[in-house]
């Protein structure tokens, strides 16, 4: 009998011990490689600032590209990282003074209610523009300034021209570059040129042009030289083809859906001009002074209808049909080709400067292109589809926190490769994408 008692006891203790039989976890060794991550500074435009959902606001800044990179650098010796943070709970402010957007319900001119980006408040938070956040004992690492054009990076008194810089400037006479250099940075990133291209693209190429590659280089090269003057290493970002972003791809060129009576009506108007319509999908009508004597034509495959187009006018008031779309809402094929060529030329400049100075390059252009094609990240399908794609915020141009985390990983990969570092990537799937009601 005693034997069985002992045996039972032994068996029970054995079973108790088995729960503790676990593989042991050892954190992989991280290393900074050849960089000094003590003080990281990033200069850039809207994609660097943390602007998203068409506003600068707190959660966007907390998940800004440089903040996420700095968070990982801190695992290999990076120091404190400060940003010109907006107050918590603020509704944020857009270029045009509006609040941030959220996904809500909107009733269109036809009385149909659907999920749509809506502003969270009637007005933006103007105090953001008016209150200066500069603190000499907590110098910023994020010099991302929405709307920063190449020509203004070293421009003194730029705070008079840009409200987003005004709120973070060290003085009313300094420049973005001077402020950044004053931090005694040890590692840097430049993500410049995107706002240049966006200004052109978001206006439908209406009344701006683009720098030539030579002009671009003349502006870009001195910035690099000054950043590396004290021996800092860094990473340069290429400029993406912004026309692959949802702002430019969401409304199809042939999104004009007609039933038989409407097609007949339109044919009676337009057949005389040489245009015909059919039941189903048709290209929108647009204004094009070079098209013919009537200066109108149908949109062509590949052309972009911008998200800035007043959708109610399209749906209910014949915009894009009897009232052809104005140039500011369309990127035509020649405009797209011009822009894409320039972007490639800029990127050639950026790559050759990086090679010349032994700096890392992160291919943001490839990242935006991959998003456009779609890919799977740890079981999550990512794409450039508006709202559902998972990477872009509700403005269709800036990334959401998850998009920024994915892009931050690309920066980290490029840094690791160039500088033989082992900086861990972020788990981008844990960051917020669009929140649904």
């Amino acid at each position: 009998m005693v034997n069985y008692k002992l045996f039972t006891l032994a068996a029970v203790s054995l079973l108790l011990g088995l729960g503790a039989c676990k593989p042991s976890y050892e954190s992989p060794e991280f290393s900074k490689g050849e960089i000094d991550p003590t003080r990281f500074v990033m200069i850039g435009g809207i994609h660097t600032s943390g602007y998203m959902d068409d506003a600068l606001y707190r959660e966007g800044q907390e998940n800004s590209l440089p903040a996420l990179i700095a968070q990982q650098l801190s695992l290999v010796g990076g120091g404190a990282f400060y940003q010109p943070l907006v107050a918590e709970g603020s509704v944020g402010i857009s270029f045009s003074g509006l609040s941030k957007m959220m996904l809500g319900y909107k009733t269109d001119c036809k009385g149909e209610t659907s999920l749509s980006p809506v502003r969270v408040a009637g007005n933006g938070d103007a105090s953001i523009w008016n209150d200066n956040t500069y603190n000499p004992s907590a110098l910023f690492g994020n010099y991302g300034v929405p709307g920063l054009l190449m020509a203004y990076v070293s421009s003194p008194a730029y705070s008079n021209q840009n409200n987003y810089y005004k709120r973070m400037a060290s003085s009313s006479t300094g420049s973005v570059l001077d402020d950044a250099l004053a931090t005694n940075l040890t590692f840097f990133s430049l993500f410049l040129g995107v706002d240049e291209v966006l200004k052109y693209a978001k206006s439908g190429a209406k009344d701006s042009t683009l720098l030539t590659a030579q002009e671009f280089e003349v502006l870009y090269a001195p910035i690099v030289s000054q950043m590396i003057a004290n021996g800092a290493k860094g990473i340069l970002a290429t400029i993406p083809d912004v026309s692959k972003m949802p702002y430019f791809t969401t409304i199809p060129y042939n999104g004009l859906t007609l039933d038989a009576p409407n097609a007949t009506t339109l044919n009676s108007v337009y057949n005389a001009l040489g245009f015909s319509f059919q039941v189903g999908a048709n290209p929108f009508m647009m204004i094009d002074p070079n098209a013919n004597s009537f200066a109108v034509r149908q949109m062509l495959p590949g052309e972009c209808l911008l998200l800035s187009v007043p959708l109610d006018s399209v749906k209910c008031n014949q915009m894009g049909v009897l009232f052809p779309l104005r140039n500011e809402f369309v990127l035509t094929n020649p405009e797209l080709e011009f822009m894409r060529t320039r972007i490639q030329e800029y990127n050639t400049v950026i790559r050759s400067l990086a090679t010349q100075h032994n700096l890392a390059v992160v291919d943001v252009d490839a990242f935006v292109s991959n998003l456009s094609d779609g890919f799977v990240y740890n079981g999550v399908s990512m794409s450039a589809k508006f709202v559902s794609g998972g990477a872009y915020s509700l403005d269709g141009v800036q990334f959401n926190p998850r998009g920024n985390a994915l892009l931050a990983n690309k920066f980290i990969q490029a840094i690791n490769k160039q500088y033989h570092a082992r900086i861990p990537e972020l788990n981008a799937g844990a960051y917020n994408a669009i929140l649904f009601p």
Binding site: M1, Y4, K5, T8, A11, V12, L14, L15, L16, L18, G19, C21, K22, P23, S24, Y25, S27, P28, F30, L103, Y105, L115, F375, V376, Y377, N378, G379, V380, S381, S388, G390, N409, P424, E425, L426, N427, G429, A430, N432, A433, I434, L435, F436, P437
Partner: protein, 408 residues
């Protein structure tokens, strides 16, 4: 004494600390488990109904046999990009078996048997918010095989047996959906359903000499079909129309296993066994879910699994220490059916070596107690082609088992 064994049994459900990994479970007989899960050639006890119905023809007893083998398995996943580690915290897997073996009279050539066992099944549960949550958070797979069997001793050397397998089971698969509500909570999908399948288990046992017995068995593939499973989605209210709750169908092939087995008796005290399995995992090429209500967001899925047929080698020895006590030692090597690019969180499998030990203790003429223990550790690094999950799974598993046999 009965009280104490009861105590032991009662303890087991309390160990909600580990889980079984992989979905084939080779724990159907304690004597075989003690010898590296081999022993299909000759008759051992009621568990031969599973291992080789042909060998049952050489039994000469009635017996009832109940057994369980709690599986304590822990998985650690280390993500290659972030370096972060995540663990499973799933409940203990409890494969069990029960065998009844009967003959109408002493020395009858015909034997009847009924076997109930769980050759496949486990629960894998990953910790909350783990990096692969959009691939899998929890998978429960349970298949119970019920196998009525006839065995016939054709000659003093040749026995054959055949069993019909009716299988009933359930599956419950859960994962998070990368869609968030206004508070940032991720949506969740749960697919659950009852599954059914049919198959057979046949075997031959041949006593080549007094010392040498050969065995050949074939357990057929069983397709576990879920015809009306329930798909339940917890999503933000604005998306309920995109993810409608409803039914789904799916099926999972439980592969065929062909075994060639040898048993050799060296002396009254020493015996050795060897089994070679060929497992038809190739049948598991796709895991498909067909939803009754499709939407743009909820489309039918087909995930490539691309398993390959594999072999496994198992062997062990038995030594009689005393008249009423045997001890066993064994081990084996199994190739993994999971090819590179197809490793998933539900079966982070790899070629594996394992070790086992066991004992039998007989009390009087009718009663015996068997115990065994199994240990393995495997490590698999892979980048899954479908999810791009890229990291290393390390699994440790210990499975102590026991059985009670009453013969008359």
């Amino acid at each position: 004494m009965a009280k104490k064994t009861l105590l032991l049994i009662l303890f087991i459900p309390l160990f909600q600390v580990a889980n079984a990994q992989g979905f084939q479970v080779n724990f159907q007989g304690q004597k075989q488990q003690g010898m590296g899960c081999a022993g299909s050639a000759n008759y051992t006890d009621g568990s031969s109904l599973f291992y080789n119905p042909g060998a049952v023809a050489f039994s000469n007893e009635n017996s009832v046999n109940v057994a369980s083998t709690p599986v304590f398995a822990n998985v650690l996943y280390v993500d290659s990009a972030t370096g972060a580690g995540y663990r499973t915290n799933s409940p203990v897997g409890t494969p069990f078996s029960a065998y009844g073996l009967f003959q109408l009279k002493k020395d009858a050539a015909l034997k009847f048997g009924l076997a109930v066992y769980t050759p496949f099944g486990s629960t894998v549960q990953y910790e909350d918010n783990w990096i692969g949550r959009f691939a899998l958070t929890r998978l429960k797979l349970m298949a119970i095989f019920i196998q009525p069997t006839f065995s016939y001793r054709f000659t003093e050397k040749l026995g054959m047996g055949a069993g019909f397998v009716f299988s009933t089971g359930e599956v419950n698969l859960q994962k998070d959906i990368p869609v968030q509500d206004s508070l940032g909570n991720f949506a969740h999908a749960e697919l659950s359903g009852k599954a059914m399948g049919f198959g057979y288990n046949i075997g031959i046992s041949y006593k080549a000499t007094d010392a040498l017995t050969l065995g050949l068995t074939y357990r057929s593939q069983v397709n576990m079909a879920v015809n009306t499973g329930q798909a339940t989605f917890t999503v933000p209210s604005s998306l309920t129309a995109s993810f409608p709750n409803g039914t789904f169908s799916s099926s999972l092939p439980l592969p065929a296993v062909a075994t060639f087995a040898v048993a050799y008796t060296f002396s009254k005290k020493w015996k050795a066994v060897l089994d070679v399995n060929y497992v038809g995992w190739k049948a598991y090429d796709t895991l498909a879910f067909d939803y009754a209500n499709n939407t743009a967001s909820l489309i039918d899925t087909k995930s490539a699994r691309m398993y390959k047929n594999i072999m496994a080698f198992r062997g062990g020895v038995e030594h009689k220490i005393m008249d009423n006590l045997d001890v066993r030692l064994g081990g084996g090597y199994g190739f993994s059916p999971v090819q590179n690019g197809y490793v998933t969180p539900e079966t982070p499998d790899k070629n594996r070596a394992y070790f086992t030990a066991g004992l039998s203790y007989r009390i009087g003429a009718h009663f015996s107690f068997d115990a065994s223990v199994y240990y393995t550790q495997i490590k698999r690094t892979d980048k899954n082609l479908e999810t791009n999950l890229n990291g290393t799974f390390t699994t440790k598993a210990i499975a102590p088992g026991f059985s009670f046999i009453y013969t008359w």
